[in-house]
Symmetry: C2
Subunit: 600 residues, 2 copies
């Protein structure tokens, strides 16, 4: 097989170390963070940042893609004593699109017997939370979210507009439990994906981002997709969705999950459709159900389920400028129409919940009728579906299933907040998970930017996770570079949102960069930035010498016009002269120009 074994990017980011914080309630948990060392002249402690990259950035970790990552969560699940191992489903030819011979991606070399809940038990984080249990996953999340916040607590000043978010100064395990219990946050953590490091998606936590990967019938291989997953998490993706639609879906997914330190999401409908050779009308509940079991056993952490597309909503889309643009939505709409009945997703949602409950697969209730253009934003079809998603949320919650809600799409700025408000209102504060939204349609090739604007805004308003959009959106399948650009853009949007919400620790990193900038610590500026490589290479294009890394200017202004350098002179002079006193004298000197009305 030509693309085996896959090679992935490893090694630490510049000046960075992976460090661990241990649990208190659960002393065996080790929560990873990244510490960025600063130049000794800074006289500052390292800056701690959230780290989604898994063992790949740890030089001491031994990475063998064909074996997969270590499985620390296996023991936690085991200890709860409410699951059972069983033989599980066998891989069928249709799971891989009937790929054969050299076209078949080999199975992942290690097979783990799947786990499921013992009969009648719910093994979801929500079930535990509601029972008052603080799981290791919850404590892990609490420690992870605090990210040095406790140490910096004294210095923190809260500032921001949260639009009803209730972010505490310090996240406690009990706070996490409570948020999960009331459905305001989820911890996507399939019991069959013990390789993943727990993380939370909710309005009162850091805003998260998702990166989509996956092959299509037209292009890309397993090795490329595994590397895209590692690459995306390296730059900060909090979850990854495998949206493969070509052949080998089952086997590619196995390679991805076994090596993924972050939760993996899928749209099971895509694989189900492959199993019926792409003929939407031929989909059945049985094929779909079999696919859910298949993916739950593999360890998929969340499923997008387009159960909100109901028959009576389809006519609402017919006069749209861009019809139905969600793949899942269009497939289900076609099915409904052909069979003249409600979808099997809607009719069997109860049973879907039973499956999710037995593996702790979270739901991402899909917005199959999201707008695909500015012209279609916030229309009747979109909001009708959202109301249905609210109803389905209640059903899932009644079964202790974790739920988030997908959102648009393409929305001009003045219509963004209405989306968030309506979602909060009709979905009981279940986390919102939006794609962008794109704020204009006129810039294909730059839709990471058109959507980054909308993503930052809706993140501020309360969206818990932002699904990235890459520059290739509407044009082609993203490659590795596109994935990175998409991730960095969305890290910017998420962080801008955290700042604006008044997240208590968010500004620590901004301030560290700003101090480095003011003190001409160029290396620190690069190392503290979201993409040190790019920052450094842009600087070095014009000033490549090492000596320039301590220069008190850059090529933008040159030495004479460097405002920061001049500011230092001013500060020095101020200290010498007692500026305040001097300035006071001038303040009293009166105004040379009076406001126009006084002058008349």
């Amino acid at each position: 097989m030509k693309d085996l074994p896959p090679t992935v990017t490893t090694g630490p980011l510049p000046a960075s170390r992976r460090v661990w914080h241990c649990g208190v309630l659960h002393p065996d948990i080790r929560v990873p963070m990244r510490e960025i060392d600063l130049h000794p002249t800074a006289g500052e402690v390292p800056v701690t940042v959230y780290d989604s990259s898994g063992p790949y950035t740890d030089p001491d970790a031994e990475i063998t893609i064909a074996r997969g990552l270590p499985r620390p969560r296996a023991a936690w699940t085991e200890a709860r004593g409410d699951t059972e191992h069983y033989e599980g489903r066998h891989v069928k030819p249709e799971d891989n699109g009937f790929a054969e011979g050299t076209r078949l991606v080999p199975e992942f070399p290690v097979r783990h017997t799947p786990l499921r809940a013992q009969k009648g038990r719910a093994v979801t984080q929500m079930a535990y939370a509601r029972a008052g249990v603080i799981t290791p996953e919850m404590e892990f999340v609490a420690i992870r979210e605090n990210m040095g916040r406790q140490a910096a607590k004294e210095a923190l000043t809260r500032d921001g507009e949260g639009f009803g978010a209730e972010i505490p100064d310090v996240i406690t395990p009990e706070f996490v439990r409570n948020e999960v219990a009331r459905g305001r946050a989820i911890i996507p953590a399939n019991i069959n994906h013990p390789e993943a490091e727990p993380m939370a998606i909710g309005r009162n936590f850091l805003v998260k981002i998702n990166a989509n990967i996956g092959n299509s019938a037209v292009t890309s291989s397993m090795a490329e997709e595994v590397e895209k997953m590692v690459w995306a998490t390296r730059w900060g993706a909090d979850t990854v969705m495998d949206l493969s639609t070509g052949r080998n879906i089952h086997n590619i997914r196995d390679w991805i999950i076994r090596n993924s330190p972050v939760p993996i999401g899928t749209v099971p409908l895509y694989q189900a459709l492959e199993k019926v050779s792409g003929v939407a009308e031929d989909l059945t509940w049985e094929v779909f159900r079999d696919t859910l079991i298949e993916q739950a056993e593999q360890g998929v952490d969340y499923f997008t389920i387009h159960a909100g597309v109901r028959l009576h909503m389809i006519p609402m889309t017919v006069d749209r400028v861009t019809g139905i643009v969600s793949r899942g939505g269009s497939i289900m709409a076609k099915w409904c129409l052909h069979h003249h009945r409600e979808s099997f997703l809607y009719e069997h949602f109860d049973e879907i919940c039973d499956i999710a409950r037995a593996y702790d697969v979270s739901f991402s209730l899909g917005d199959g009728l999201r707008p695909g253009s500015i012209a279609d934003a916030n229309d009747q079809a979109q909001f009708a579906e959202l109301e249905t998603l609210g109803e389905l949320t209640q059903i899932a919650w009644a079964k202790d299933c974790q739920v988030m809600i997908e959102g648009p799409g393409h929305v001009p700025m003045h219509k963004i907040k209405a989306n968030m408000d309506k979602q909060l209102e009709v979905c009981g504060e279940a986390p919102f998970y939006t794609l962008g939204p794109l704020t204009t349609d006129i810039a294909p090739g730059y839709d990471h930017i058109t959507s980054g604007i909308g993503a930052a805004m809706i993140g501020w308003f309360g969206t818990a996770m932002l699904c990235y959009v890459t520059p290739k959106e509407h044009l082609g399948l993203p490659d590795r570079d596109d994935v990175k650009t998409g991730v960095i853009t969305y890290k910017i949007a998420a962080h801008a949102a955290d700042l604006a919400k008044g997240h208590p620790a968010a500004q620590i990193r901004d301030d560290a960069v700003s101090r480095a900038r003011f003190e001409f610590r160029w290396e620190d500026q690069f190392n503290l930035s979201l993409d040190p490589e790019t920052a450094r290479s842009m600087h070095d294009e014009t000033l490549p010498k090492e000596a320039h890394k301590v220069a008190h200017f850059c090529s933008m202004c040159g030495p004479k016009f460097c405002s920061m350098r001049i500011s230092h002179d001013i500060r020095a002079e101020a200290q010498k002269e007692g500026m305040e006193k001097m300035a006071e004298k001038f303040r009293e000197g009166g105004e040379l120009y009076l406001p126009q009305e006084d002058a008349k």
Copy 2:
């Protein structure tokens, strides 16, 4: 001279023609627009878009950089009979930083005798507007801003939130006159820059963008800067600021202005500082005044004047994280401090207005104390200066001078609107002109994006012109690629703002792209986009064949998963079956799942 003659990028954008609309009040004016032809299968008229690119995109125009562009506005100024030709100032060695021999960029080959107002006359667009005169410039702007709006008027539905903007359905010349008269818009149009095509900057017009170019002591040449100017306008820059700070400032600027179809702005302080060898304390009113005359005679359309930096404000910046980050602000602060007095800009602002009034140089009142980090946003220093800018606006208006106000900078999302509100309040609705703002400090290398988010938002709230930020911000001098990325990003921000404000014609282009997308008119999608080259090349990376340009799918989803294709099937089925009737039956079929509260 090795870099002569400069070569610039010419030729039309794909499927585009430069067309002209004539005036009614002034039948001799020819207002350029760009028409983008669509594929015949669209059955649609060409889409008309605003065109800032000048003759360079007109294949019939003869471009000779060493001669400069035609000077259509010369006759309009002449006809007003209130100006006089005079010999003008002679170029001095210090104007070019004492560059000599091969290091001296040659003078522009053609010298035009400068014009100034006859004694006692005001030749500003504001003076004419207040006198009730609709100038050719005003009618030009009215036609330019409408951009096919009249033709589409029937179909327009107003939608948006303007935060007090008053954008009419159709822009009339009288509306332009009134906006200019009350200071709510400016038409930067130095009588010595007759090559420029008039444009307006104001809250009730399309949001504009500025691109900064200019050499520094460290890098770049005249030829590069001329090409950057042409290149920036090709992609949509509405004005260009020449921020050169190296040698040859005078001569480079001449080459730029004589070839620029858009207004050129400068910060005269930069050149003045060069004249005193970079020693801020040595600056004098006489050197500065001489520089203003020099640049006014050359045809600079707007001056950034940092007259708002007052002595008593300087101590307010001492405890900032990043001090003073405006070059002009830091230079003036240093001067004030050294001399223990108010700046010559503030003390002589009256005389500065007299010069501006004699050439119609607009003011861009500089925000010398803008915040340079999230930590410093909206602080006392920033807003104290803004209040002073409001006072200076009244003084300038009393002299019939056109004014806009510069704004920040670095501002987290939740503090952006306060900037706009305060500016409107204290500056009498003079147009706001902001740099970004950047919404986080943690992404050097991506500050076009961190700032594009802030720019879109503040544009929506009412900012009239957005100064671009390129990926190189904080790292180095932008090259040609950075200029393009900056311009496209800011065209996105400006357009997203126009959409959200409810500009009546803004959505025409979005809708055209969306229809093309839905109908798989790939060529039209590329041609209608802000950057056709990039869109096409991204598409062609995976599907290069010509046949794929009419394919009913792309590499993202492949044919089976193309939601748009499925939507067409749905639409076809709907027409066949009478969907509305069918769906009605199902609507009445009742709910399978009831909202949770009802189900209990």
